[in-house]
């Protein structure tokens, strides 16, 4: 589904990602871990199409399309979802209405008719029930005044509505207490199926106790320095990153 080939990328003329190659297939969960400054966030931003970040060489092929030639909106409509580490607040835009607009954008792209607010409300209620989310998420404005945990839950709600092929969750666990982490993880797990794929960018291992990865990759100084399975994550937890990053 996703093929990253020798990607070099950076911001403001500074190269941060220095040659990453990665393959992600349907049904897989990949975890990307690494110390601060290793390039995890830059990779996420490049994949999402952030205008300030530039890929200087390499390729990213998603479902046979060249992702680097698509803007953020096109990527989203193609089925890429980015769960932000720090979701932006947009006061004045109602959350439910925003979700309906995003849902309708997808439907229009697929040649289907837009749904009206009443029909959408049914769909939204169903997804919210599945994720165990309270009514307030419908009534409030987009991330406006949400706590960190509420913002992350709202990202997962968006994921549930948009049904992406590839989800990229950037440090979704940061700032969450153990209960919120459990609820968010349960939500993510419910949305997984054999046709979609998940990339988790995380600093800490604990998220991976809840969302079990098939592959774990360690990023250091802009490159993947080691790949393995869940056991790798457990080793990192007990030994830290040094043993991997300095061994290179």
């Amino acid at each position: 589904m996703l093929e990253i080939k020798d990607l070099h990328a950076g911001v403001d003329g500074t190269e941060i990602v220095k040659g990453i190659s990665l393959s992600v297939n349907k049904g897989e969960v990949h975890a990307i871990m690494g110390p601060n400054g290793s390039g995890k966030s830059t990779l996420a931003k490049i994949l999402s199409g952030h205008p300030a970040y530039e890929a200087t060489s390499g390729e990213i092929i998603f479902d046979g399309q060249n992702l680097l030639e698509m803007d953020a909106e096109e990527r989203s409509l193609a089925g890429v979802f980015m769960g932000f580490q720090y979701p932006v607040e947009v006061p004045g835009v109602n959350n439910a209405e925003f979700l309906r607009m995003a849902h309708n954008a997808r439907r229009v792209k697929a040649g289907e008719e837009e749904v009206d607010p009443l029909d959408f409300d049914e769909l939204l209620s169903e997804k919210m029930k599945m994720l165990g989310m309270e009514k307030k998420y419908k009534e409030r404005n987009l991330n406006d005044g949400f706590s960190g945990g509420e913002k992350k839950k709202n990202e997962i709600l968006q994921m549930a509505i948009l049904e992406p092929k590839l989800s990229l969750l950037d440090e979704t666990d940061s700032g969450l207490d153990i209960d919120a982490l459990r609820i968010v993880s349960e939500g993510v797990n419910k949305l997984r199926n054999e046709n979609n794929a998940l990339i988790l960018i995380t600093h800490y291992q604990r998220l991976l106790d809840y969302i079990k990865p098939d592959f774990v990759h360690v990023l250091s100084q802009g490159k993947i320095v080691k790949s393995g399975d869940k056991a790798l994550a457990i080793e990192l937890e007990s030994q830290g990153y040094d043993w991997v990053t300095t061994a290179d």
């Binding site: 803007d71 607040e89 004045g92 995003a102």
Partner: protein, 434 residues
């Protein structure tokens, strides 16, 4: 100390116009006294130059240099109905070219509860004369000099008007010889009365100057909700001064939605005269092309425990221009005052312009006052976030600008007005290209 007043041609032109106006209009002695006093005051003040405090950001040169005819109140008006809001079909005062037209007004629902008259009571005349003598706005002086009538609207003590009242100001316009209209109103709200009013300004075509002054006297415990919708064509000037006196525990809540024109000037002068008085002034404008809206606000806290809130938002595109000059004056003795003032400007082009001058003058020592102003573009992070959810850049921009303006529109109590503004004012935010 003697001074020779040197009049420019602009003032002289208006003085001559006034002579003609007096000849053609038979006014009562009360009204004549107001005319005379106002004209002297106009002569004394003269049109503003760029250093004049009230018009620092407002270029009135072209307006002052325009030759006007005084309005023709008997002109025929079509299509009034489409401007009357649902719910006001039997509670609408229709002003044609600044003068109340009783034949076109629909007053069935309010004739028993509201008294609408011309200037009759000596106390009202005295009050107006006093305000004219102390008038600091030269354009308000012109209104008082050229008004062919003063419409007095009176709500009795404890009056509860079941329906909102609309005051519709329609101008015929004349593109070859622009007309000057001078609506002059006095609203008297009795003790504990509750009143809701919607004012709307429209024109059949360009070529007019609506120059209005209204006084609101809000008695103890009364509540007023006022909404103003300015929707004139581009080639029309709209100046209006709203002066409000608020007594003990009374409230005055106003929301102003301005579409702009070649020049719009909203002047609010509010006096919180007794303890517990409260004023809320909200405003939103959406400007394109060369449209302008200027807000000039003076709020006087004259007694303790009074509250004032102001929140104005401007969305400005192309070469639009706005200004906010707002001063809150807290008198000595106005302890426990609570005053807030916030202006937000969203700039959508390189050539648009916004001036902001929030100001506090505090002479009491136990008060809570705050003011702030922001000028910015569309938040790029918000724009990117919406795009990552599949919204096009164009759509996301419209959504963000609309939500910016909508927060003020949503404070308007009248759903019919909100609905209309969604299709008019907010529709101006639709982006033609990315």
């Amino acid at each position: 100390m003697s001074e020779t007043i040197v009049e420019s041609t602009e003032e002289t032109a208006f003085l001559d116009l006034h002579k003609k106006f007096v000849e053609e209009n038979k006014s009562s002695s009360a009204l004549s006294a107001i005319h005379e006093s106002a004209l002297s005051r106009f002569e004394m003040l003269g049109f503003p130059h760029s250093k004049h405090e009230m018009y620092t950001y407002v270029n009135t040169k072209k307006l002052a240099a325009t030759t006007f005819a005084v309005s023709n109140p008997s002109a025929k008006i079509d299509l009034i109905e489409k401007h009357i809001y649902s719910g006001c079909e039997n509670s609408c005062l229709v002003f044609v070219n600044g003068v109340l037209d009783r034949s076109l007004s629909k007053l069935k629902d309010i004739e028993s509860s509201v008294k609408i008259s011309s200037l009759e009571e000596k106390s009202d005349t005295d009050t107006l004369l006093e305000s004219v003598e102390n008038e600091n706005d030269v354009f308000a002086c012109l209104t008082n000099a050229f008004c062919s009538d003063v419409t007095v609207v009176e709500f009795p003590d404890k009056g509860q008007v079941a329906v909102p009242i609309q005051a519709l100001f329609v101008s015929t316009g004349n593109t070859s010889l622009p007309e000057m209209h001078s609506p002059r109103l006095l609203w008297k709200v009795g003790k504990l009365a509750e009143v809701k009013v919607i004012e709307k300004f429209v024109g059949m075509q360009e070529g007019y100057f609506t120059n209005m002054v209204q006084d609101w006297r809000v008695a103890e415990g009364a509540g007023v909700v006022l909404t103003q919708v300015q929707s004139d064509p581009f080639g029309a000037w709209n100046f209006h001064k709203t002066r409000v006196h608020i007594k003990r525990n009374a409230r005055f809540h106003s929301a102003n939605a301005s579409s702009g024109s070649v020049l719009v000037h909203n002047h609010f002068e509010v006096r919180l005269e007794e303890e517990g008085a409260e004023v809320i002034l909200n405003g939103v404008s959406v400007l394109k092309g060369k449209e302008q809206v200027h807000n000039f606000i003076r709020i006087h806290h004259e007694a303790p425990q009074c509250v004032s809130h102001q929140h104005f938002k401007n969305v400005i595109n192309d070469e639009g221009r706005s200004s906010f000059d707002g001063t809150v004056i807290v008198n000595q003795g106005a302890q426990l005052t609570s005053a807030n003032q916030l202006i937000n400007n969203l700039m959508l082009s390189d050539d648009c312009h916004a001036d902001n001058k929030p100001n506090l003058m505090i002479f009491a020592d136990d008060v809570k006052c705050a003011h702030g102003a922001t000028i910015g573009q569309i938040d790029e992070d918000q724009l990117f976030y919406l795009q990552t959810r599949g919204l096009s850049k164009k759509f996301a921009k419209e959504l963000l600008t609309r939500s910016f303006a909508e927060s003020i529109v949503q404070t308007i109590e009248f759903s019919e007005v909100v609905k209309e503004l969604s299709n008019t004012l907010l529709k101006k935010l639709e982006v033609d290209n990315v």
